[in-house]
């Protein structure tokens, strides 16, 4: 066992929201894959790399990305929620009903929809943890039931138009000009504040902090990445509000996963729930919170989808059975590196996975390829991404954590 003991100086573990891709070897293949896809489509179509198209690509990836971000919390605790798409649909239809029929302002209806989504998620968690039915079954059944409820809530026309209710503004607002850069500056300052406070607490505790590796590099990389994104978006219409919402969720989610006790418990429960229980962690509560987050986030994604399509209907939430929305949301998380077996995955998984799926869809569309092909390519990419992960695992002898 002597060879396994590291005598290297203790490394500083940077546990911050923008976990840089370069440092996370697990994310590297997917980043390379994404770049390869971009090069391929750039060669195929002159339009692909324009600011306008990249802007659209980001917007098109947002709903799936947000859904993936939510479902990731459930996957981390080694459960699955197949009802997220149905929650997305039924809460957005319920919200539309409140706005259109009861005249409720979107300022009230949107939070109600999100709270409802979180409540539905927590219900399936209760069923899973107290009755002991596998989450796969509970959420499959619940999803179908919610699909039925969605159809009942819809009017005879099978559609609520939300045009002119104010809700459509969510998808229309762009933050442009100087304000786009102000938003970026706020984001980078928050991130830098976090990194500095961590470095300061290490120094206070008498631990060494490699300034370059733990402070300068992360902040520089985050600044560079953010500046490129904002520059591209600004060259078109500015930062779309829904992209900003996704960005805020990514930052918040990264903070929760990497910095808080709750985040740590998600990983612990997903890896070894018996060990977590013996350590005094209330496993059922952690799972309930994970399902509630997935439900609430799915409802938020539903609100955004409703705003983009100017209404809700049978098609909301991917249609009956969740359709491609459900499959793409789970696929995005898994492509991004979240394990279906619990305890592994970082927040950028949802962004990377959604971008891969969005890129395939957007690029093939520009090439004039049929929708059927898009499904085939996306499906194969999912298998390929997980296969590469497995091959790395075999080659390095490093288990996936």
């Amino acid at each position: 066992m002597a060879e396994a003991i590291t005598s290297a100086p203790p490394l500083v573990r940077r546990r911050s929201i923008g976990d840089l891709l370069a440092r996370d070897l697990r994310a590297l293949p997917i980043v390379i894959g994404l770049i390869a896809l971009w090069i391929f489509f750039a060669v195929q179509s002159d339009v692909f790399l324009t600011a306008r198209n990249l802007s659209n690509l980001l917007v098109q990836s947002t709903v799936v990305g947000i859904m993936a971000l939510g479902i990731m919390f459930v996957l981390l605790v080694k459960e699955i929620d197949l009802s997220v798409a149905a929650i997305n649909g039924v809460t957005s239809v319920f919200m539309a009903k409140l706005i259109v029929e009861a005249g409720v302002t979107p300022w009230v209806a949107v939070p109600i929809a999100i709270a409802l989504g979180a409540f539905i998620g927590s219900l399936s968690a209760r069923w899973v943890t107290y009755v002991g039915v596998p989450s796969f079954v509970v959420t499959l059944g619940l999803g179908l039931a919610l699909n039925g409820l969605q159809l009942i809530l819809l009017p005879a026309t099978a559609r609520y138009s939300l045009n002119g209710t104010g809700l459509e503004q969510i998808a229309l607002i762009n933050i442009d000009g100087i304000w786009a850069w102000v938003v970026l500056a706020i984001g980078i300052l928050s991130f830098a504040g976090l990194v500095f406070s961590e470095a300061a607490s290490r120094t206070r505790a008498g631990l060494e902090t490699p300034m370059m590796r733990a402070v300068v590099l992360p902040i520089a990389a985050a600044t560079l990445f953010g500046a490129i994104v904002v520059a591209i978006l600004s060259a078109h219409k500015g930062i779309p509000l829904i992209v900003l919402i996704f960005g805020i969720l990514l930052g918040l989610g990264g903070y929760i996963l990497k910095q808080t006790q709750f985040g740590l418990y998600l990983y612990a429960v997903g890896n070894n729930d018996e060990a977590a229980r013996r350590s005094g962690i209330k496993v059922h509560r952690i799972k309930m919170a994970a399902f509630a987050i997935a439900g609430g986030v799915a409802a938020l994604a539903g609100v955004i989808a409703a705003s983009r399509t100017l209404g809700v209907g049978v098609f909301s939430g991917g249609g009956v059975g969740g359709g491609t929305l459900l499959l793409e949301s789970i696929a995005a998380a898994v492509i991004g590196g979240v394990s279906l077996f619990g305890g592994r995955g970082s927040i950028h998984a949802s962004l990377l996975g959604a971008l891969v799926i969005g890129t395939v869809s957007n690029g093939l569309n520009l090439m004039g390829v049929e929708n059927e092909i898009r499904l085939i390519v996306t499906g194969l990419l999912l298998v390929l991404a997980v296969s590469i992960d497995k091959l790395i695992e075999k080659a390095t002898g490093q288990q996936s954590f």
Binding site: R15, Q261, L264, A268, A276
Partner: protein, 269 residues
Amino acid sequence: MTDMSAGRERHVQASGAVPLISMRNIHKKFGSLHALRGASIDVHAGEVVALVGDNGAGKSTMVKVMAGVHMATSGDYEFEGKPVRITSPTDANALGIQTVYQDLALCSNLDAVQNLFLGRELTGSSLFGRRIQRAECEVKAREVLKRMRLGNLSLTRPVGAMSGGQRQNIAIARSILWTPKVVILDEPTAALSHSAAEQVGDLIRTLADQGLGIVVVSHDIHNFVVNATDRIEVMRLGANAASFRTGDVTGEQVVNAMVGGNEGVNLAG
């Protein structure tokens, strides 16, 4: 069968002192199964006591009663000379009795610091939930590992990437973190190579030298038990079969006592 622990115990550190744990005449019934039939054990500060026996001899039940997992049906349990009533592992922890189970109960995706503090993190409040004070945890972890002479253990690698011996050490370190008085180890060397088992033995000795009482349940008689412990309590059929001072016996003699073979080898006679 003679019990030599009462009169003839010659253990140096232990002589004359009040034992940390003294369990006398413990009975435990699971329905019709009479698992413990009047078993007794003493654990002194600074000594390593091995609890050995064949499968079904009652040693696991005995340490589970000691650790608060089971309650004895009858018998006396004294801690530092005072009668105690331990109804749960939490009670045992509160007294300063920690148990390291055979499966170690570690999370392989978390690093050493995260495993050491799991469920007991040092935290501060923040806008979005309790924020872990990583630096403070790391300092305390380093301190404990250094005391255990495990200073070169990586604090940031996932535990799953470590060797079996290192994982065992982390599980022991976790029990030490909250300065217990007694540590119970269930089969600490079962999954380890010979050299790794030796290192665990060294670690246990280090802890005993710092004044802890250590109880080890082990099947590894010939290598581990006869080399790394001070006293060997042999159990058979739910009761004490023999008690040896480690230096006085060979592995053969211990095994004979376990299976109820040649009574003559009992050196107490």
